[in-house]
């Protein structure tokens, strides 16, 4: 266990700040920037409108909590921990009608947000992390961290390099305790899967998992299920081939779902991967405000990696008019960065992501990935061969 108490304190502190942060009409006119800590201990800098939005969001979170408690009262405690309908045919066949109805309710409910207090429990169960953990002895994580203590590998060196560079200034992550905890999770995982080892970007993902889950062990298992089951494989391995595949699929989807934007950006010679690569590798944790990121992750852990496409497309879609009137690559990036940094209202984003983008099944996306894989492999191979021939020339 670590820091749960201080996390609760942060939440209280945040709540107590709300009345003080209510901006006056003068502050509005002056367009003042205010700085404060959000629910997860991140320092947020925003204008008065952002603060207003955050206040509304907090109220919505409370209301959403009440919906969950009411359902718990009528359907029984932990009703939501039943297996999801997407978990395979044999299961689907045996599902009772009521379970089906529950699954549909749950999907809708999760898109509207899991209350922060329920997140650790629900993520752990619905993502498959609990199941993954149950297949190994209880002492697995402890044994692993003990066994790797003091070992030095390229991965551990890179991790040590990145610890102070992971959300620097965060009230818990950027402390000796925070660094040590994050280190154990990342180093442990680097030994669990030596193909992945450690990839920059995972530091941000694991850090946010630590802030949400109650124990570092649960954060570890969330990281494991994310890399091994939720995301497309090879996103983080040697040449990031999985990530290249996702980017190609994303480009195709943008052309299909937002053709005006895609055409305009192409004319500007703007490759959308320039910005989207970080989104996919850090799962938006470096771009979106924390509560918005976690709302994306709520859906990610239940519906799978296709959610990342929904959200990335939504960010472009929301700024369609501005984007098609931009003339420079720099302007495009500024529009997108400003948008993501100020997306304090998760519903604004998720409504576009799921209602306006239209449905995409995991199946269709899998097919598109399959289609792109050979091209990615050929491209990566070609680059390697070119570089190798350069080395020979040099000698």
């Amino acid at each position: 266990m670590y820091g749960t108490q201080s996390k609760r304190d942060l939440a209280l502190e945040f709540q107590s700040q709300i009345p003080i942060l209510r901006p006056s009409i003068h502050a509005r006119r002056a367009n003042l920037t205010v700085k404060f800590q959000d629910l997860y201990g991140f320092t947020v800098e925003g204008n008065v409108d952002d603060v207003n939005v955050l206040n509304e969001v907090r109220e919505k979170v409370r209301q959403q909590g009440r919906v969950w408690w009411a359902l718990e009262a009528s359907k029984g405690a932990n009703w939501y921990l039943q297996p999801s309908i997407s978990e395979g045919q044999s299961l689907k066949a045996s599902l009772k009608l009521s379970a089906m109805a529950n699954a549909i309710t749950l999907k809708r409910l999760i898109r509207k947000g899991i209350p922060p207090v329920l997140r650790p429990k629900i993520w752990f169960s619905l993502s498959g992390a609990a199941k993954k953990k149950s297949t190994v002895p209880d002492s697995y994580y402890n044994d692993l961290t003990k066994a790797v203590e003091g070992k030095v590998t390229p991965a551990t060196r890179q991790i040590d390099h990145d610890l102070p560079r992971t959300f620097p200034g965060h009230s818990w992550l950027d402390t000796p305790e925070g660094h040590a905890t994050l280190r154990r999770v990342l180093v442990g995982y680097s030994f669990r899967d030596s193909d992945v080892g450690y990839c920059q970007g995972l530091n941000y993902v694991a850090a946010l998992l630590l802030l949400v889950m109650k124990t570092e062990e649960d954060a570890f298992w969330m990281l494991a299920v994310l890399l091994e089951n939720v995301l497309v494989s090879d996103c983080y391995t040697t040449n990031l081939s999985g990530c290249h595949v996702e980017q190609r699929v994303f480009k195709d989807l943008l052309a299909k779902k937002c053709p005006r934007i895609a055409t305009h950006l192409e004319a500007l010679e703007f490759d959308v991967s320039l910005v989207a690569t970080e989104w996919f590798l850090c799962l938006f944790s470096k771009s979106l405000p924390s509560e918005t990121t976690l709302r994306v992750w709520d859906v990610l852990f239940y519906e799978g990696a296709k959610v990342l496409f929904h959200v990335a497309l939504a960010i472009f879609k929301m700024k369609e008019e501005e984007l098609i009137h931009s003339h420079h690559v720099g302007d495009v990036i500024n529009i997108l960065q400003k948008t993501t940094h100020h997306l304090f209202d998760p519903d604004e984003l998720l409504t576009v992501a799921f209602d306006k983008i239209g449905s995409m099944t995991t199946n269709t996306i899998s097919k598109q990935r399959k289609k792109q894989e050979p091209a990615v492999m050929a491209e990566l191979d070609q680059r390697l061969r070119r570089l190798n021939s350069l080395k020979l020339d040099d000698k």
């Binding site: 890179q158 390099h161 959300f167 920059q200 320039l274 690569t277 690559v329 680059r383 350069l390």
Partner: protein, 208 residues
């Protein structure tokens, strides 16, 4: 590619180099005049823009600061494609980072824009006097090697320190001066300039 219009030049610039060489720190120093010991690690790449006035033009740099970890190198072509300039950064106290820099030069010369203006930045020059004498000797050898390498491969070399700001603006300024003014057809090899190697080494001792 550098594009001109009324002596306003837009130039895409990419920073490449080993992890921890100080690419992001150089950019932060140039763009915001700040130095932060622990900057967030860069994933993919980060974008910045900064305008610089040189004698005859205003250059607007569109800067791509790339991630240093080896596996991210497969993404690099996306960032250097169409770049008018590149700064290849290494850590002057780290031989391996210089080896990595050489590989980047090779790759850019083979794949990048043939008129690309390239700078080799030996960063962390402030560490030179902070280190012990024995350590300094190997660093000096590496510096001489880097200078020779730069000369041989048609880049210009500068020792920089993002921490003390030494030579940071100068690197960008030198690049701005060297960018092709009208058409990107000019031959850049005629404009190679070495940066007073001996003096540079001596002058770093005054850094604080």
């Amino acid at each position: 590619m550098a594009t001109t219009g009324n002596k306003n030049i837009n130039a895409k610039l990419v920073l490449l180099g080993d992890v921890g060489a100080g690419k992001s720190s150089l950019v932060l120093r140039f763009v915001k005049g700040q130095f932060i010991e622990f900057q967030e690690s860069t994933i993919g790449a980060a974008f910045f823009s900064q305008t610089l006035a040189v004698n005859d033009a205003t250059v607007k740099f569109e800067i791509w600061d790339t991630a240093g970890q080896e596996r991210y190198h497969s993404l690099a072509p996306m960032y250097y494609r169409g770049a008018a300039a590149a700064i290849i950064v290494y850590d002057i106290t780290n031989q391996a980072s210089f080896e990595r820099a050489k590989k980047w030069v090779q790759e850019l010369q083979a794949q990048g824009n043939p008129n690309m203006v390239m700078a080799l930045a030996g960063n962390k020059a402030d560490l030179l006097d902070a280190k012990k004498v024995e350590a300094e000797a190997s660093t000096l050898v590496l510096l001489l090697e880097a200078q020779a390498y730069a000369q041989e491969h048609g880049l210009f070399f500068m020792e920089t320190s993002a921490k003390t700001a030494a030579n940071v603006n100068e690197v960008f300024y030198e690049i701005a001066k060297r960018l092709p003014r009208v058409q990107p057809a000019q031959n850049s090899s005629g404009m190679v300039l070495m940066d007073r190697p001996a003096e540079r080494i001596a002058s770093t001792s005054c850094c604080s």
